[in-house]
Symmetry: C2
């Protein structure tokens, strides 16, 4: 074990600390071959590598500095921080609904404290209660860590296991489920669970945070309260994403799992409902539905857990001058489904027609979506679109490309017969295709501009 | 030649018309194996295929119906339309600026009339004057058709030729250039011309239309007037896109060629400036700058025409569970540049690290952008991002994925030396990287909501 002053550091990183006479919690300036970094040296998890120093910078972000690049370290001060969350027993109140929080990883789970100085999931009910005591006012919380992964590493295996886990929790009579998740690919998981868990009797709310809880602007506690409130008390028994709405801390928006997308890399108000309006506005105390046509809570309804996925599916994001090999390689490598994100109403260039035709001939299912993200595929408008239809491409209306990817993987695990695939793809399970965009669905609900919010609040009045 | 009542129809399509006793301009209901279509039978271009009937439906769209699928045609009426534009000589006024309109194809060019009953470019100055006589109040217009292609078929060859053509027109002393273009991949061409034509002394304005001029809601004439006014009279000597702003016919927005993207498949107000604000509001009579820091018109400035492109570049649009073969196939097929559109701050899953490392080792240039479209790549925040940096991925700040694709192709035609590529990619030529997003650049300028427009007009007051 390393000395306590060097918590968790080993190998080359430990040597560097010793060479320059600095320790964990030293406030330092580090000169490296890649530039100068300033910040507080954080403790390191024992499972982390032994070649990086981790600094917390003044902007709240952590930076990892490769030990071998370090030329000098100057200690400016010392800022020992105690991030340990006081753990207390989560109070149980028989009058309150029971919610299960399933953890998969991501910022909301992994940064709740820095006990070990590293990015590790810390996730017992007691810890959560210590961090966000308001949760006890909302529900009785049970937590279970399923994974500790960044959301970009979530995949079919995790989708299927989580779906089954949800089935078990519902079986056990829980009143609502919250899923803690990294934000990057949250919308992919939301789509997957929308298809794999149908007819849920209770709310299934996916939540994350864009800023870790040690940063002053963190959305972790607020999002968690909103999600738990929705799971415990709302009538909305669907797979939803509950994330920051406007740029101010006023409310979260609840998005349908099949119509939501991350639209900003760092803003807290990053999730947007596309081609529809959000289901509801949520605060830690209240859920205000915006849409009327959602599935209601019904404890007597039996959920349908359909956790299957064909992995050989891909997205081809069209760009001008795309060459036939892009399609040919997918076919050669055994892909069974291809989602094209075409330009405009659903177009690709002529040189792709022939490889697409061959792919379809070989039994590959090729579907078309639009990379504009908003709007419908309409392949009847131009000759070129009609040619593509004749080749056998299936247009997916206003299904988002990411959702089409998830749905095609799910459908192909049921059937590979083209007409059956077409039918399943074009039969909406939970609004992944909407009949008509609500007027101005494209434009409003962007939030953050006071005038827009006033407009929204007028609608809601 | 076919009989005049069957203008342009030949072969199976002609037989069907004769069988059911209907003609061009018959208002019909067509029963097919794919459903029933209602509309007016349009004339057909002689260069078009001989197996489709083309109907203009009541919503303004055309639909092509395969002759062999037709089971019955019932004539309801007859609606002969005369779309021929009276051609008059475009008046020349020595006091007015000279503008050259270069046509590449797309809706704005191809649907200005239906003389031949088909989608063909019709584009002489006289025809344009006949269709939009207001143009003569704005400038002296010279037109030249470079191509007649849908924009998804535009590519490096067309970019380079157009750039050289622009150089010649500037050489000839023109006061401004308008480029008529299909809307689908307009933003790709705008980016290409931003890099290939630098330091232009005059405005270069790309324009298109979302609805053809025979539809009541067409934006063709309005967009064309706005674009010509900008080219002729504005002080903004940059490569820009001039397209419909809000949902009402009030003004167009002028977008920087490197920061614009098509964001709705069918709306007229589809183009949006991302990660910045538009340069100006434009009407047929007036240009109102919103930004201050654009390049001013200066007839003494010499443009730099740098029309080169390396075609072996691709975009990889990350999705969860992406498999290594996606990267490996690109390397095997000889690609020299890969733009990854990662999730969140710029992430991909772990199984891709090794193939990416190998690609970089083999001299492939790999750059990272964000598929959220808004926001910056920030690869220092998580371990995973730092790992990717160590592998040799170059983060592209807030450059849009499509723009990174175009720029990487352009840069790789200059150098394949990594540090030189990095330097060129990260040195903005025209705001393809912006230092900081303007506050709320993400949120405002969506247009179309009266309250938002009021807000915008307040800013501009």
């Amino acid at each position: 074990m390393a000395d306590d002053k060097y918590k968790g550091y080993r190998g080359p990183a430990l040597s560097v600390l010793k060479n320059f006479n600095v320790y964990v919690w030293s406030d330092v300036e580090v000169e490296t071959t890649k530039g100068v970094f300033a910040g507080v040296i954080l403790p390191r998890s024992e499972t982390a590598d032994d070649c990086h120093l981790v600094l917390k910078m003044s902007n709240g972000y952590n930076v990892g500095v490769l030990a071998e690049n370090i030329q000098n370290i100057r200690e400016i001060g010392h800022k020992e921080a105690h991030y340990k969350i006081p753990e207390s027993e989560f109070p149980r109140d028989p009058a309150k609904p029971n919610v299960t929080l399933l953890g998969t990883g991501g910022t909301i789970a992994s940064r709740l404290d820095y006990r070990t100085g590293a990015v590790i999931p810390a996730f017992t009910p007691g810890e959560l209660y210590g961090a966000v005591p308001e949760l006890a006012d909302i529900c009785n919380l049970k937590t279970e860590k399923l994974y500790g992964v960044f959301s970009e590493n979530m995949g079919p295996e995790q989708y299927m296991f989580t779906a089954k886990k949800i089935g078990e929790e519902i079986e056990n009579g829980v009143d609502g489920i919250v899923i803690g998740h990294g934000t990057d690919a949250m919308h992919h998981t939301a789509a997957a669970l929308s298809f794999m868990v149908q007819d849920s009797p209770v709310p299934i709310v996916i939540v994350g945070s864009q800023r870790s809880s040690d940063r002053p602007s963190s959305d972790a506690a607020f999002n968690l309260q909103c999600a738990c409130h929705t799971a415990a008390h709302s009538d909305i028994a669907e797979v939803t994403v509950c994330m920051f709405g406007p740029t101010s801390d006023q409310y979260n928006l609840l998005h349908k799992g099949t119509r939501v997308r991350k639209m900003h890399s760092s803003y807290r108000s990053t999730f947007r409902t596309l081609g529809d309006i959000p289901i509801a506005m949520v605060t830690p105390e209240k859920v205000t539905p915006i849409k009327k046509d959602y599935k209601r809570r019904d404890m007597n309804r039996k959920p349908k857990i359909d956790a299957v996925f064909e992995e050989m599916v891909s997205i081809v994001y069209y760009y001008p001058n795309m060459r036939p090999d892009i399609i040919e390689s997918l076919v050669d490598n055994g892909y069974k489904g291809i989602v094209i994100a075409g330009t405009g109403l659903g177009h690709v260039n002529k040189p792709l027609y022939e490889p697409i035709r061959k792919a379809v001939e070989k039994g590959v299912q090729v579907v078309m979506t639009v990379q504009t993200l908003w709007g419908y595929v309409q392949m009847y408008v131009y000759d070129t679109g009609r040619d593509l239809l004749d080749i056998g491409i299936m247009p997916m209306e206003n299904m988002l490309p990411e959702v089409a990817y998830i749905k095609l993987g799910w459908v192909l695990a049921h059937t590979t017969e083209r007409e059956e695939v077409r039918k399943m793809m074009l039969t909406p399970i939970n609004d992944e295709i909407t009949e008509r965009e609500p007027f101005d669905g494209y434009l409003i609900w962007q939030g953050g501009v006071p005038e827009v919010e006033e407009f929204i609040s007028k609608i809601l009045r």
